[in-house]
Symmetry: C2
Subunit: 442 residues, 2 copies
């Protein structure tokens, strides 16, 4: 089986996503809008499954992490305190002749317009990446507000409310998933760098002297999430330890995935110290310190953060899963073209089982099986077209198991289970089918 | 048991929501931001559960409805075509003396300032309720974009992409849940009218001559969702048929709930005709018509919409569930104050089972039970404080069942199951506990 890896893999993934309705351009009939992507039926299911897996792993299965869902728009002073209003920006310059705007760090010669060659460029100035809006009846600076650039700041802001209501003691975490917005100058690499995206963040509050131990703990937990739950082979992941630290960080690393366009960050783990809690305490005038009864001490909590991009994880799954396969196709007696398959982990595959009657007159038996299986798994029923075409379609949407009902099934009460990746087939009694699938759909 | 119904119920619900971390003001440490509410640990779980219930009922359990997740920001021409840019507005007037702005339909005398009494009021003008932002490197009208005012428009816009990729034929539906934004002049009634909220919408595409039958079908389905799944008593719900129809509607009704502040819409069901598809076809220049092979006809699909507000449903559940109960409290030997309880349906209660060891030394047995139960249900373990106080807390967060491990449990391998609403207690063998709860947690 040949794995397609290289420059054109991303283009093939983009084409598959559009063809099968995973992800496509937002407002496509209006020529789209740069940096915004919609998730179609299979894409929504994939994304919901990954999000739910994260939520279960990070919140539901733990006693020391609780959930939050804050608004996208919050009081603008949050972004003053966080530093985003002053520092979350790119240096830009305008051409006075053609009136275009450019990022200085992407220009070969900042004094020359890359578009028209003019030397009439303005002094570089900061262009803030936060999207601005207005709340209330007047559109002036007093009513300006911002779409959150990250989901973590409201967690710091709500820390005391959540801590008191949930009766948590340090160490404990607060997690949330939700949309964030950045007015990226150059959105690119499909959903990798877009302007609207879903973050999944967890802020873990602890004592300063325990923070490095928690940092290591969460590094191991998050690595395991990708390796053991999402089944990424270890060689497709790497840890990138930051040498140069952001102003808020005392230690930081990225988990990167080997995208077709190079290594790209899918998660950041940051020891943020007391920076955020200190800033919000200072700017709000509230005492955000914590009294540790055990040690009889009052201090600002130290924060260890795990922050990942749901869209990037889905893109990594799609890129990782995309394969083209010629030899195996010929095995099934079709040699006119390559087999495209999406090898997604069964836990997050949009369709986990497909039920396919060989011919329509077997539909009654097949429909009975379908009704039974769909109560347990995401199941699709398809009776249209040749069985080969139907297999091909399920391969493309990443269905790990196809259950085929044939003429013999009426005699032997058994069905054929075809495995997506290996194309091997097992004959399984209908009574044993649920058990057979349950063992493998994990 | 006395049901608290009246003017102060909402205030009590708001207080409970803050105290127990269900819902509280966004950015509270910065004095909040009017019309924005954050969901804390129990609130998130309630909201996620209701959303998942809707998604299962509307998408996963049906073969003829598929999911979508479109971006909040889309091409602004979508809102030109939908009519929102031109018509989604309130009439406002400004006072030239005190410089305040007012909604004309809420003023007793539109010519007089309600604030300072001045007669120097501007001519009334339209104030658009959509929140505006800018996408790209320049903040001018060419780069203006809007936060979606409703989740349904992108469904119409993506109709063809979704239809082709999912191989659906009419009649079928497309559903999505997600944030919408309206710059309401007067947010009020807690989360009932806020500026950022979650919609759950389904657009059902069909032939014109079948639309009224589908309208009736969805009316029945959605009524059943509230009555049978969310367990609202029928007398707390009513159907309000619209006599005056919006420009896009051929028939419309609201499902209303008896909130403490009066009847309020929680869902709208609309026969939208071909209005939306016609407008988007016209404005995009694309042919959005559908070819019906069975009837050999080409036509614009007619749309029947079901549209509800997730925050409003949660608020209805909280208001419906809130009770104060004096007599029952005395039954448990506590007479110093009333018992507050939140009678939520077990399916969506943030905590479904609480495991409470009578004293800490019974913790080992209790913790074993807890580990077993949490694999099946949302389960909380609490060993702090008197058993009465722990019951009281679980009552307030709406936990339907408390499982108490006492000294006798070590002998008889049985536990006490206490019912939230009736306060009755059953002795149940530990081996039979999962079965006992499974029957009741539906």
């Amino acid at each position: 089986m040949s794995n397609v890896r290289g420059n054109d893999t991303l283009a093939k993934v983009v084409a598959l996503c559009k063809r099968r309705g995973f992800v496509f351009q937002s407002s496509e009939i209006y020529d789209g809008i740069n940096g915004f992507w919609d998730y179609g039926p299979y894409g929504v299911t994939l994304r919901r499954s990954v999000e739910q897996l994260w939520w279960k792993h990070m919140v539901e299965d733990r006693d020391n992490v609780v959930g939050l869902d804050s608004t996208i728009i919050c009081n603008p002073r949050v972004w003053k305190a966080s530093g985003h209003l002053d520092q979350f920006s790119d240096l830009m310059t305008d051409c006075l002749d053609c009136r275009r705007r450019f990022r200085v760090d992407q220009m070969e010669d900042p004094g020359t317009c890359p578009e028209c060659g003019s030397k009439q460029m303005t002094e570089p100035r900061e262009f803030n990446l936060m999207m601005k809006t207005f709340v209330g009846p007047v559109f002036d600076e007093e009513h300006a507000a911002y779409l959150r650039a990250e989901t973590c700041q409201p967690i710091f802001v709500d820390f005391d409310q959540v801590r008191i209501a949930s009766r948590q003691k340090l160490p404990f975490g607060i997690a949330q998933t939700g949309k964030a917005f950045r007015n990226e100058i150059n959105p690119r690499f499909f959903t990798f760098r877009s302007r609207e995206f879903v973050q999944m963040e967890m802020e873990f509050f602890c004592r300063a002297d325990e923070a490095m131990a928690w940092y290591d703990y969460w590094k191991a937990e998050r690595w395991s999430f990708y390796r053991d739950l999402l089944r990424f082979p270890e060689e497709t992941l790497k840890i990138h330890e930051h040498e140069k630290l952001a102003h808020y960080a005392q230690a930081a690393l990225d988990i990167e995935y080997a995208f077709p366009f190079g290594w790209g960050e899918i998660e950041g783990i940051h020891h943020r110290g007391t920076w955020d809690m200190g800033r919000h305490g200072e700017f709000s005038g509230r005492d955000l310190s914590y009294f540790d009864q055990e040690h009889n001490e009052r201090f600002l909590p130290t924060v260890v953060e795990t922050s990942c991009g749901l869209d990037r994880i889905c893109l990594a799954l799609l890129c990782r899963g995309y394969r083209e396969d010629m030899a195996a196709t010929q095995k099934e007696g079709r040699d006119e073209d390559v087999r495209v398959l999406l090898s997604l982990p069964p836990l997050v595959s949009p369709v986990q089982v497909a039920v396919l009657p060989l011919v329509k007159k077997l539909g009654e038996t097949a429909a009975g099986l379908f009704r039974d299986l769909r109560r347990r798994w995401r199941t699709e029923y398809d009776e249209g077209g040749s069985i080969g075409k139907r297999y091909r379609r399920q391969d493309e949407i990443g269905t790990p198991f196809c259950v085929t009902v044939d003429y013999e099934s009426l005699e032997d009460r058994a069905v054929t289970v075809r495995h997506r990746d290996s194309m091997t087939q097992d004959r399984v009694g209908m009574d044993a089918l649920v058990g057979y699938l349950a063992e493998r759909l994990v």
